[in-house]
């Protein structure tokens, strides 16, 4: 495309010089033609880039979904084969354990499908939002209760700091719950060994500020710009944990932005990460 612009510029200069006496006007016309061609080439290049990106996303989607669904599906299939086999003897105490495995694997598949459905709604711009007055501290307290056992089992201290009597926020509680769940889950999951997660809720200029700080693996510098991208999983996380769709943070960002807020993070590899989001009170 660059060669075309150069040749067109030279050709239009020669043509202009032949018919127009004023050199300044000729140069001006050549400049305009070059700029127009440059803009067109930029648009074409960007379109190809977007197409390539879309195609890459599509293949990543197929890879991730097929692998992340196949694993629990196979676990269920083999567990049922064991339970129903006439040749194998399954002790009674094992039956309960195996049924527990089945339940866990079904939950994994449901979680992935739920994530995919919400992503599809986000992409079509039709996330159903149902706003009402929400006391975020109560919502967070409930979630912390739910995550307490997981945190203790992972040797993670989970603390929540907030100002009493904070104003209610006019927002969608089920969507906010999804965001906070994702952030707490990530914070606990990516701490290696004993660690700490601190959640804070404060008010700032008609906005509520939520922060969640962990002492986890952190995000490598080179991965920071991709962290909210769909299907992206940071290299250090992928190395430690093969499960995961890379959809959680993309979902969080889309929801917060749909609710009129902003989400961002600060992170240092090996030391930890803090995710923040703001939401308008009204």
């Amino acid at each position: 495309m660059g060669i075309i612009i150069i040749f067109t510029s030279i050709f239009s200069y020669l043509l202009g010089a032949h018919y127009i006496a004023n050199v300044e006007i000729v140069i001006f016309i050549v400049l305009i033609i070059a700029i127009v061609l440059f803009i067109i080439s930029y648009i074409i290049t960007r379109s190809f880039e977007r197409l390539a990106e879309a195609s890459k996303m599509k293949s990543e989607f197929i890879n991730i979904v097929s692998h992340q669904l196949r694993s629990p599906l196979n676990n269920i299939k083999w567990t049922f084969e064991i339970l129903t086999s006439k040749e194998l003897e399954v002790p009674t105490e094992k039956v309960e354990e195996y049924m527990g495995n089945v339940e866990e694997n079904i939950a994994r598949m449901v979680e992935l499908i739920d994530d995919l459905l919400i992503v599809s709604k986000i992409e079509q711009g039709r996330v159903p939002i149902s706003k009402k007055e929400v006391f975020l501290e109560n919502l967070i307290k409930d979630l912390i209760k739910r995550y307490r056992i997981f945190a203790e089992a992972s040797h993670v201290e989970l603390n929540f700091y907030f100002k009493e009597q904070a104003s209610p926020v006019f927002t969608d509680p089920s969507l906010i719950k999804l965001v906070v769940e994702n952030l707490i889950d990530n914070a606990i999951r990516y701490i290696k060994g004993p660690g700490k997660v601190e959640i804070k809720l404060t008010m700032e200029n008609k906005k509520v500020l939520f922060s969640i700080k962990d002492t986890g693996v952190g995000i490598p510098q080179k991965d920071k710009k991709y962290i909210f991208q769909k299907f992206f999983r940071a290299e250090n996380v992928l190395k430690e944990r093969t499960r995961g769709s890379g959809l959680g943070l993309y979902v969080c960002k889309s929801i917060i932005e749909n609710l009129g807020g902003r989400i961002w993070f600060k992170s240092e590899e090996g030391k930890g990460t803090t995710f923040y989001f703001t939401l308008p009170i009204k």
């Binding site: 692998h67 599906l73 676990n75 083999w78 084969e81 064991i82 086999s85 094992k94 495995n101 944990r241």
Partner: protein
């Protein structure tokens, strides 16, 4: 006394399988089945531990998943086949990846056979194991 000796002999004579798999529930359930079939099972939940156990315990067979934390299955396979101590151990790749390029790569690296989990029943996998180590 004789019984104890016989039991020890049976245990020592049992074929050992190292199962490198990050799905703990699958590892446990399939491991139970293999034990019932008379094999001694060693487990590893990631590639690094798997490689270490293969070197230290010299199993008769390795069941190797590919998508593994710490060290990818292909890396494990490559290192196993480069090491004179472990290169003769037969490796069955047992994975959910079913692309032709993955199958070819595993076989090129020295895998004895390649099984896509969802395409096989447990009994069929056991048959493949029996064929290789008896």
């Amino acid at each position: 006394m004789l019984n104890v000796c016989m039991f020890k002999c049976l245990y020592v004579c049992m074929k050992t399988i190292l199962f490198i798999e990050d799905e703990a529930t699958l590892q446990k359930a399939f491991g139970d089945v293999l034990q019932q079939k008379g094999y001694k099972i060693l487990n590893a939940l990631n590639g690094e531990i798997g490689l270490r156990r293969a070197r230290s315990e010299n199993p008769d067979l390795i069941l190797l998943d590919l998508v593994l934390p710490r060290l990818h299955g292909f890396e494990v396979l490559k290192k196993l086949k480069e090491d004179p101590e472990t290169k003769e151990i037969p490796v069955i790749v047992l994975t959910n990846l079913g692309k032709m390029e993955d199958i070819n790569k595993a076989i090129e690296l020295g895998a004895t056979t390649y099984l896509v989990k969802t395409e096989y029943k447990i009994e069929e996998v056991i048959e493949k194991i029996k064929k290789i180590i008896g």
